[in-house]
């Protein structure tokens, strides 16, 4: 029996703030409130990675939060989708180039849907989640296979990558990648 179609009928949400300014978090909570009421679609803010399907992330990934981010992501059982809410989650936004964070969440975990806006509107978040649910429905058992992730240095584009500048202070001149 194909159970795929039930995935989009009860997507449980996990919400993680990776160092944003709380603007987008409030909009996510507004989605759950009486006005937008996404519980109509069966969504619950479960707060527990082991039972969640959709991961809503806000904020650029700060150095403190990146390990937790990957940790939480890997605790979610497949099939799962990731929705990046807010400009700073997609690209770094207003925080881009700052010493304490990277430009966007997709440098660490795969992102399925990007929701723009600083902060993003609740309607946009709902549209983004609906878009993500289409992806969730089509995920196959392939993704349950475990793969070994390689630690690769982040290639710096034309943003100022202050991580290397800050590195000598932290660990004696060695380039620090991932802690």
């Amino acid at each position: 029996m194909k159970l795929n179609k039930y995935r989009k009928k009860s997507p449980w949400i996990l919400h993680y703030n990776a160092g944003g300014c709380n603007g987008c978090d409030i909009e996510i909570l507004a989605c759950l409130g009486p006005k937008y009421d996404i519980e109509r679609f069966g969504m619950i803010n479960s707060g527990n990675p082991k039972q969640a399907d959709v991961m809503l992330i806000t904020g650029p990934v700060t150095k403190r939060s990146r390990e937790r981010l990957v940790d939480i992501y890997s605790q979610m059982p497949e099939p799962k989708v990731v929705v990046a809410c807010g400009s700073c989650t997609c690209t770094g936004g207003v925080f881009r180039g700052m010493y304490n964070c990277e430009g966007g969440v997709d440098q660490y975990i795969p992102v399925d849907v990007y929701v723009p806006g600083c902060g993003c509107r609740p309607e946009q978040i709902i549209a983004g989640v609906v878009e993500a649910l289409k992806k969730l429905e089509n995920k196959t058992k392939e993704i349950e296979k475990s793969v070994r992730l390689e630690v690769a240095p982040v290639e710096s584009d034309n943003q100022i990558n202050r991580r290397e500048i800050a590195a000598p202070i932290n660990n004696g001149g060695k380039p620090s990648v991932f802690g």
């Binding site: 159970l3 795929n4 039930y6 995935r7 009928k9 009860s10 449980w12 009486p34 009421d37 519980e39 109509r40 679609f41 069966g42 707060g47 527990n48 082991k50 039972q51 399907d53 605790q75 059982p77 497949e78 099939p79 349950e144």
Partner: protein
């Protein structure tokens, strides 16, 4: 509840009925908050979704204890439907709770430990009241069998009104509803003992919650005696009471919960025992 076919049907359909009650409850709760709320069959959608998710188990004993929790609770509900021994029912229910507490302690997650601690405390809060209600029922009918209560001509409600009040006071603890939802407290311990379950093993714990509804509402139904309609009215009123209470109150901490149950609900049940013993009502 005399017909054996009806009994077997009820036992087999108990999880489904419980799921419907849970769906209705989510709907009613949403309406009380001026929301539209999920569809009535939402718990079953959740159920089917979890059947397909990847199973991440902490260790096999933990997963097994989750299944055992479901099975022993189903046994308790079955004995309650068949009109068996009240004490046996209480102990089967206690066994299922003990199993899930054990599962909570068997992982290394701190939230799971806290949830298990709090579950154990809520058992301490509601169990004495239930046992005193059982003894009152024994004083009333001369047997521990629930079937004697189902068959009583004068509704049990009129014979032991205080026991019913005591039961109403402990129901939120048992169903993990606000204000006494410390053991589940999603904002504090993220669901407590059910935290580490995923996939179909979470499904067992999730479905056990539906069975808990059936268990509780059958206890309420029992107070209607032979009058089925009175029983159903009591169940409906209790349903509204629990949801209104859940929506309108904030969580108290576990000390306040314990104090309330042992200083308010337990004496009420005890007075009821005395009244029944001396045949006042």
């Amino acid at each position: 509840m005399n017909n054996i076919v009806v009994q077997i049907l009820l036992i087999a359909l108990a999880p489904i009925l419980g799921g419907l009650i849970y769906g209705l409850e989510r709907k009613v709760k949403a309406r009380m908050q001026r929301r539209i709320g999920p569809p009535l069959l939402q718990p079953f959608y959740d159920f089917l979704k979890f059947a397909d998710k990847r199973k991440m188990i902490v260790h096999s004993t933990h997963a097994f204890l989750g299944l055992l929790h479901f099975v022993s609770l189903w046994f308790a509900v079955a004995v309650l439907i068949m009109g068996g021994d009240f004490i046996l029912i209480i102990f089967l229910h206690l066994l299922s709770t003990a199993v899930i507490i054990l599962a909570g302690f068997s992982t290394r997650s701190i939230f799971s430990h806290l949830g298990a601690n709090r579950s154990a405390i809520s058992v301490l809060a509601y169990e004495p009241v239930l046992i005193i209600i059982a003894i009152s029922a024994y004083m009333l009918t001369g047997s521990f069998d629930v079937s004697a209560l189902y068959a009583s001509e004068i509704p049990v409600l009129f014979k032991m009104p205080l026991a019913f009040i005591a039961l109403l006071l402990i129901l939120p603890v048992k169903l993990k509803k606000s204000p006494f939802d410390v053991s589940e407290a999603h904002q504090e311990v993220v669901g407590g003992v059910e935290l580490e379950y995923s996939g179909i093993f979470y499904e067992a714990v999730y479905t056990a919650k539906w069975l808990d509804y059936i268990f509780v509402y059958l206890l309420v139904f029992m107070f209607g005696g032979a009058n089925i309609w009175l029983g159903l009215v009591l169940v409906a009123l209790t349903f509204i009471y629990i949801n209104a209470l859940d929506n309108s109150t904030a969580r108290v901490n576990y000390k306040q919960m314990l104090r309330f149950c042992l200083w308010v609900a337990l004496p009420i049940a005890f007075v009821n025992l005395l009244l029944t013993m001396f045949g006042v009502l």
